[in-house]
Amino acid sequence: MKFDVGLILSWIPAALAGLEITIAVWLAGGLCALALGFGVAAARRFGGALVDRALTLYVALIRDTPFLIQLFLLYYGGPFVGLELEPYQAGLIGLTVYGSAYFAEIIRAGFEAVPVGHQEAAICAGLTRAQMVRRILLPEMALLVLPPVVNMQILLLKETAVLSIVTVPELTMTLTSLGSEHFAFAEALSLLAGLYWVLVEVTGALGRFAERRLARLSFAA
């Protein structure tokens, strides 16, 4: 048995098609998850004690179960409660909900890390509470959470592989099925790992670039 490089090259067009779908569901799911996570964190901070308690439970429920199981339940269990979803819909909703719990925690910690003094300075300067939130709290929080948000987006990128179990024809599904067709798993999984690696490295480089550009806006010593 020999590692067939020619076979890998012949798969590239199919792999790129899968990669395109991976990137599309990741970008859509990652952005929706970030938006929902922000909404959850903001509601917890500004929505009163009851909302805070309810959303703490939401975050706990999602963080306490594996994404694989959540997606299974959503896609295969959904019809039992009248929720019939297309694979893409299930994948997108699954990623959004799963990611939102983590983003909510990142953003909650970000809010808490903005020094109270910076907010007091705004109030003393005469800004209203709403102006303080918009002009001081949110921008400072956004700068603080940039590195963990990029990190979480990278994790979500790799979690898109789980969408293969609900038959979204993304990268993992494409290459694992080609692998079993040709009985060439080593080749298929090598190409698969390589492509994820490239995608993650590019994302990480973009994140580091943004961090460097924004470094001078960070806290003074």
Binding site: A121, C124, A125, G126, L217
Partner: protein
């Protein structure tokens, strides 16, 4: 002289712990009032109450006659005033913090212009022109485009002073403005404050800089364990430390001063 800011029978409790008790204090127009005392004596809490960053548990604060935060009714009950009213009264007050508290995502100019734009609703050009004039006053016009992370501690504190002055307050409150600075940078901040005092600004300053208090203040308030132990002119308070608690407090400063001299002696 008239009181710009008047504190009456003020008390502050955190839970069961009384931080301030029965404070009566007048910050007089055109004067520098320095609040000194050992750590934990409640000086910062008192100043924070004066800006209503802390709500007093008892008593009343008036700013040019207007109640700040609470109104005492004729029957002697305290009534919380709405935030909009607090903000209106607070407009008379500028606040400078120990930790500077500049907004890190804005330049020095942006920090000073922010409230002019958001609160005064000035167009950008005019807000920035006024901010620039304030920065020039504290000697930092050429640093206007720098971010706080690119400035020294002393420069940051001067920007913070310019930021407070930009809103043209009638009273400036300073909460240990030099306590996070090394001695070299302390001087530049104290110089700006001396300049401000000379120009007639009404100031209340919580400080450990006894030298500054003795030379700049007209009014010294010595706080110990949440009470005003002594107050008066610097001469009356410092020249005759007849109170054992004050003598003990000043002793530590003399010790520290001596230590600095010994370390600084040429080898």
């Amino acid at each position: 002289m008239a009181a710009a800011l008047q504190v009456r029978r003020l008390g502050k409790r955190f839970g069961a712990h009384a931080v301030l008790r029965e404070i009566d204090l007048a910050v007089r127009e055109g004067e520098v009032t320095c609040i000194v005392g050992p750590s934990g004596s409640g000086k910062s809490t008192l100043l924070r109450c004066m800006a209503f960053l802390e709500a007093p548990s008892e008593g009343e604060i008036t700013v040019y006659g207007a109640p700040l935060g609470f109104r005492v009714t004729e029957s002697g009950e305290r009534q919380r005033l709405p935030d909009s009213d607090v903000a209106r009264v607070r407009r008379n007050i500028g606040m400078v913090f120990q930790q500077f508290n500049l907004w890190p995502h804005m330049t020095a100019l942006g920090n000073v212009a922010e409230a002019l734009r958001q609160v005064r609703r000035l167009p950008r050009r005019e807000a920035e022109a006024r901010a620039m004039a304030q920065l020039a006053k504290v000697g930092l016009a050429e640093r206007a485009r720098h971010y706080p992370s690119q400035l020294s501690g002393g420069q940051q504190q001067r920007v913070a002073i310019a930021r407070a002055l930009a809103m043209e307050p009638r009273i400036m409150l300073f909460d240990e403005p030099t306590s996070s600075l090394d001695p070299e940078l302390t001087g530049e901040v104290l110089n700006v404050m001396r300049e401000l005092a000379r120009a007639g600004m009404t100031m209340a300053v919580v400080t450990h800089e006894i030298g500054f208090a003795a030379t700049v203040a007209q009014h010294i308030v010595f706080l110990d364990d949440g009470r005003i132990l002594l107050e008066g002119t610097p001469q009356s308070v410092f020249a005759q430390p007849w109170h054992p608690r004050l003598a003990q407090f000043l002793e530590t400063y003399i010790d520290r001063g001596a230590a600095v001299l010994l370390q600084g002696a040429p080898a």
